[in-house]
C-alpha cells in the first residue's frame, strides 16, 4: 500500500472514530476536545494522502460494489482531486483545532460534535469519487450535514432558520441539475464510472454536450455561489458556527469549481468557445457583484461571504480563460491559467478560512458581528487582530503573502493570452483583465475597511470594550492557517510540481511547460517562486532595518503617549471615528446603480429652533439586486400557484367523483 493509500484509509478510519466518539463521550468539554483532535487528525491525514498523490502522480483507487444500491461506491483520487483534498485537509485540520475552543461551552451537544467530522469526511470524499452514484451521494451528504450545521444555533437566531431554508432549497436545485447532467452522460456512455464517461463523451452530439455543460454550470455554480445562484451564500455562511463557515466558505464552494473543471475539461474534454465565454461572463459578474456587496455590507461575516463570491468569480474567470485558450490553440497558456486557478483554490481556502476563524474569534470574544459596533480589538485581542490583518493582506493580493502569488499568475496568463488572433479572445480577455484589476482594487479597500474599523481605534460599543482574547486552541487553529498563508506566499514552489501534475491529469489541457514569449521565459507557475521569495525577504528586511534605525535617532526611540492632535480638539470619543458604513460611503455612491442603496436620514430638531439639530439617524440598506428581481417573483409565483391549487381538493365528493368519471370517459374514448 503506497503512502497515499495508507494516509487515505487512515483519514477515513479516524473520521469514523471521531463520529463515534462524539456520540459516546459523556462529558461535554472532553467530548469537544477528543472529537476536535480526531477530526484534525482526519483532516491532516487527508492532507498527507493528497500530497502523496500530488508527489507521485499515481492515483489512489478503492471499490465498494455492495454499498449504495444499484450503483456501488468507487473512488479514484487523481492529482486534480488531490489539489482540492489538499485544501480541504488543511482547512479541516485548522478548523477542528479551532473548534475545540470555540464549541467548548455553547455548542458541545452530541449531534453537533458528530456532524463536524461527518462534514469533513464528505468534503474529503467528494473530490475522490469516480462514479456518478458515489459523487452524487457524497455531494448530497455534504449538503445535508452542512445544512444541519447551519441550523446549529437555530434556537437563538431566526435568520439561521431562514438561511437554512434558502441553503437547503438552492443546494437541492443544484443537485437536481447535477442528477440530470450525470444521467445524460451515463445514458450515453452505458455505465456511470467517470473513466467510461470520459472515453465516450466525445461521441455525444454537440447539442447534448452543451446541455450537459449548462447543467454542470448551474449545478456546480449554485454550490460555488456563482452570481445568479449565490443568494444562499451571504445568508448561510454567516449563520453557521465560525469554524463551520470557514469550512463552507474555504473549501465547500471550491468543490463547485472542482465539478466545473472535472466536467468541463475532464468528462467532456473541452468544448466550443461560447461555453467558456459564458463561464467568463458569469465569473466576471460574480466577481464584481460579490465585491461591491462586500464593500457595502457592515456585517463582518456577511462581508466575508460576499468576498467568497468575488473570489469564486476570479477562479471562474481563470477556468473560462483556460477553456478559451484550449479552443483557440494555446495549450500552454491554458495550462498556466488552470495552474493559476488551482493555486488560487488552495490560497483562497487558506486565507478565507483564516479570516472566518478570526471573525469567529471576534464574535466569541466581543459577541458582536456588526463592524459599526466593533473597534479597538487590536489592543484587546492582539493575536486575533494580527491574524485578521494577515488574512486581510493576503486576500487583498498584496506582495509578501499567498494571495499575491495566485493573482499574479492569473494576471500573467490573462495578459499573455490577450494577444491571440481569435476575435472572441481579443474582446473577452481584456474585459477579464479589467474586471480582475477592478476587483483587486476594491478588495483592498474592503479589507482596509474591515481591519481598520473592526480592529483599530476606540471600541464603539460596550461589548467591544469588554472584549477578551479567545482561548488558546482557537489561536493555534488560526496560527496554523496563518503560517500556511506565509509559507505559500513565500515558497509557492513547494506546490509547483503537484499543480503541474494536476493540470496534466485534467485532460484536454497539455502538461505545462516553460515557453519563450518575446524574449522572457515564462514557465508557469514556477516563475512566481523567484519573485515572491525575493520580495518577501526584501520587505521583511526593509521594515526591520527601518525599525532598528529609528532606535538610533536622537530621541532614542522612546515613544511618548500623547492625546490625539485632531486639529486642535481634545477629548477624543469613539463617536468621532469613521464607521464601516461611512468608510464605504464614497464607493457605494460611485457604484450606486449596481447596489441600489436605500439611504434614509431622519433629522430630529430641537423644539426651540429649527436650525439646531438634536439627533441625526442614518440607515443604509443594501438590497441584493438578484434577490429582488430574480428570486422574489419566482417565489411569489410558486406561492400563488399553491394557493390556486387548493381548489383542486375542495372537499366535495361530487368533484372527486367527477375527476374519476372524466378520466374514465376520456380514456374510453381515447382507446376506441
Amino acid at each position: 500500500m503506497s503512502f497515499a493509500e495508507v494516509s487515505a484509509t487512515a483519514a477515513m478510519v479516524v473520521g469514523a472514530v471521531a463520529i463515534i466518539a462524539a456520540f459516546s463521550i459523556g462529558d461535554a468539554r472532553r467530548r469537544a476536545l477528543v472529537t476536535g483532535v480526531l477530526t484534525a487528525l482526519c483532516g491532516f491525514s487527508g492532507l498527507l494522502a493528497a500530497s502523496g498523490v500530488l508527489a507521485t502522480g499515481r492515483p489512489v483507487h478503492a471499490e465498494f460494489p455492495h454499498l449504495l444500491p444499484f450503483a456501488g461506491l468507487s473512488f479514484r483520487l487523481d492529482p486534480l482531486g488531490a489539489v482540492f483534498v489538499l485544501a480541504v485537509g488543511g482547512v479541516v485540520t485548522a478548523a477542528a483545532v479551532y473548534g475545540i475552543g470555540y464549541t467548548r461551552d455553547h455548542l458541545s451537544g452530541r449531534s453537533f460534535q458528530a456532524l463536524v467530522p461527518a462534514f469533513a469526511l464528505t468534503l474529503l470524499l467528494v473530490p475522490a469519487a469516480s462514479s456518478m452514484g458515489t459523487f452524487l451521494v457524497f455531494w448530497e451528504l455534504m449538503a445535508l450535514t452542512s445544512l444541519l450545521l447551519v441550523l446549529a444555533e437555530q434556537r437563538r437566531s431566526p435568520e439561521a432558520r431562514d438561511a437554512a431554508m434558502w441553503y437547503g432549497v438552492m443546494t437541492h436545485l443544484g443537485f437536481i441539475a447535477l442528477l440530470l447532467m450525470f444521467s445524460l452522460l451515463a445514458a450515453h456512455s452505458g455505465n456511470g464510472s467517470f473513466l467510461a464517461i470520459e472515453r465516450s463523451s466525445s461521441s455525444m452530439d454537440p447539442a447534448l454536450r452543451s446541455l450537459v455543460f449548462i447543467l454542470a454550470v448551474v449545478g456546480f455554480g449554485s454550490k460555488a455561489g456563482m452570481v445568479p445562484l449565490h443568494a444562499w451564500l451571504p445568508r448561510a455562511h454567516p449563520e453557521a458556527p465560525s469554524h463551520v463557515s470557514a469550512l463552507m466558505s474555504g473549501v465547500m464552494v471550491k468543490l463547485g469549481v472542482y465539478g466545473i473543471v472535472r466536467v468541463g475539461f475532464g468528462l467532456l474534454g473541452g468544448g466550443p468557445s461560447w461555453w467558456w465565454v459564458v463561464l467568463l461572463v458569469l465569473g466576471a459578474a460574480s466577481a464584481l457583484f460579490g465585491i461591491l456587496q462586500a464593500i457595502a455590507s457592515s456585517d463582518l461575516k456577511r462581508m466575508l461571504a460576499y468576498s467568497t463570491t468575488e473570489n469564486i468569480g476570479l477562479i471562474l474567470i481563470g477556468v473560462g480563460a483556460a477553456g478559451l485558450f484550449t479552443t483557440t490553440g494555446h495549450p500552454i497558456l491554458a495550462a498556466a491559467a488552470l495552474g493559476a486557478v488551482l493555486l488560487h483554490v488552495i490560497n483562497h481556502a487558506a486565507f478565507k478560512a483564516l479570516l472566518f476563524l478570526a471573525a469567529g474569534s471576534v464574535v466569541h470574544g466581543a459577541g458582536e458581528r456588526n463592524l459599526d459596533r466593533l473597534g479597538g480589538l487590536m489592543r484587546r485581542m492582539p493575536v486575533t487582530g494580527a491574524m485578521f490583518a494577515l488574512g486581510a493582506v493576503a486576500i487583498a493580493a498584496l506582495p509578501p503573502l499567498n494571495g499575491f502569488a495566485s493573482e499574479w499568475l492569473l494576471l500573467q496568463s490573462l495578459i499573455h493570452g490577450a494577444d491571440s488572433q481569435a476575435l472572441v479572445v481579443a474582446i473577452a480577455v481584456p474585459l477579464a483583465i479589467a474586471v480582475v484589476a477592478l476587483t483587486a482594487g476594491l478588495t483592498a479597500a474592503t479589507f482596509v475597511k474591515a481591519t481598520g474599523t473592526g480592529f483599530l481605534a476606540l471600541p464603539r460599543s460596550p461589548a467591544a470594550e469588554a472584549a477578551t482574547e479567545s482561548p488558546r486552541s482557537m489561536l493555534v487553529g488560526m496560527g496554523f492557517l496563518a503560517s500556511v498563508c506565509v509559507l505559500l506566499g513565500v515558497g509557492v514552489g513547494v506546490l509547483g510540481a503537484g499543480i503541474g501534475r494536476a493540470v496534466a491529469a485534467v485532460g484536454g489541457v497539455r502538461k505545462p511547460a516553460p515557453f519563450r514569449v518575446h524574449g522572457s521565459t515564462l514557465s508557469p507557475p514556477w516563475q512566481v517562486v523567484g519573485t515572491s521569495m525575493a520580495l518577501a525577504a526584501a520587505l521583511v528586511l526593509g521594515v526591520g532595518v527601518i525599525m532598528v534605525l529609528l532606535r538610533f535617532l536622537p530621541s532614542g526611540g522612546r515613544r511618548r503617549r500623547a492625546d490625539n492632535w485632531g486639529c486642535g480638539r481634545t477629548q477624543q470619543t469613539a463617536r468621532m471615528e469613521y464607521t464601516a458604513s461611512s468608510f464605504a460611503e464614497p464607493l457605494v455612491r460611485v457604484f450606486d446603480d449596481v447596489l441600489h442603496p436605500d439611504l434614509d436620514i431622519d433629522v430630529t430638531h430641537r423644539q426651540e429652533s429649527q436650525y439646531y439639530v438634536e439627533k441625526i439617524r442614518l440607515r443604509l440598506g443594501i438590497k441584493d439586486a438578484f434577490e429582488e428581481r430574480l428570486y422574489r417573483p419566482v417565489l411569489n409565483g410558486i406561492h400563488a400557484w399553491g394557493i390556486w391549487a387548493r381548489r383542486l381538493q375542495n372537499g366535495s365528493v361530487h368533484r372527486y367523483l367527477g375527476y374519476a368519471f372524466a378520466a374514465l370517459i376520456i380514456l374510453l374514448v381515447a382507446t376506441r
Partner: protein, 315 residues
Amino acid sequence: MNTTRALVPILQLLLVFVGGPLIVGVIRKVRARLEGRVGAPIHQPLRDLRKLFAKERIAPEHASWVFVIAPAVLMTSAAVTAVLVPMVSTVSPFAQVSDLVTITALLLLGTVALALGALDPGTAFGGMGASREMTIAALTEPTLLLSVAAISILTGTTNLPGAINEIIDRPGSVSSIGYVLALVALGIATLAESTRLPVDNPNTHLELTMVHEAMVLEYAGPDLALVETGSSMRLVIFLGLLANLLVPWGIATGSGVAELAVGTLTFGLKIGVLAVALSVFEVFTAKVRLFRVPELLALSLVLSFLGVITSVVHP
C-alpha cells in the same frame, strides 16, 4: 564586472531617497516662481526632514502597533520598488523579479499600510483621509493594470527591463495608438496615485478637502519624516516609470561604468524636465471636487482599456 551590476540597485536606492525630496523642492520652487514668489530653496524639504528626524517620537495613547509600523511599511515598499524599477540601467540582479504587475502591487501595499495607519488614531480626519485614499486607490488600480497590460501586450512581456530593451531595440513595435493611450492613462493614474493636484491639493490647509494630508495629520517627528520621504520617493518612481517608458533611450543597457554614469545623468535630466512640466501643469489646474474624481478615473480606465484593445488588434 558584476560589481557594477550589484552597484545599480544601491545607486538607484540612494538616487531616489535623495532625489525624492529634491524633486518636491524643484516643483515648489517652479510653482513659486510662476506665482511671482521667490519660494524656498530646492533643498528645503531635505532640511525639513533633518529637523523632523531630530524630534521625539509621539503616538496616540490608544493607537496599536499598526500606527507604528505603517510608515516603515510605506518606506520599505517605496524602497523595494525603487530598486526594482529600471531607472538608470536595465541590468540589475533583480531584473528577473522586476515585473510591472509586481510593482503595482507593491505600491498598493504602501497605500494600504498608510490608510491603516491613518485609521488607527481614530480621529475623524484620519478616517476621512483613509476612506478617500482607498476609494481613489481602488479606482486607479484597474487603470494601472490595464495600461500595464497594454504595454506588455505590445512589448510581449510584463518584465520591465525586458520591455524597455524591447522598446529600445525595436521602437517600431511600440509606435501604435495603443501605447500612447496607455501612457496617457498611466499619467492620469500617476497624478491620482501620488495625490497631485487635480485629485488632491498637496499644500492645502482645509482639512475637508485633504486626502493624503488628512491621513498623516497624527504623525509627527521621525514617523512624519518617513511618510514624507516615502511619498516623495513614490512620486519619483512614477515619474521615472513614465519617463523610461516614454523616452527609454539613454538608459544603460550594458554593465559598463561609463554607461552607468550616462544613464544616471539622463535619468536626472528626464526627471527634472518632468517635474517642471508637472508643476507648470499644477499651476494652471484647480482641484477637482472629490465626487468628480471617479469620473476622471473612469476616463483613464476607458483610455487604458482602449489601449489594450487597440494593442491586441494591432499586431
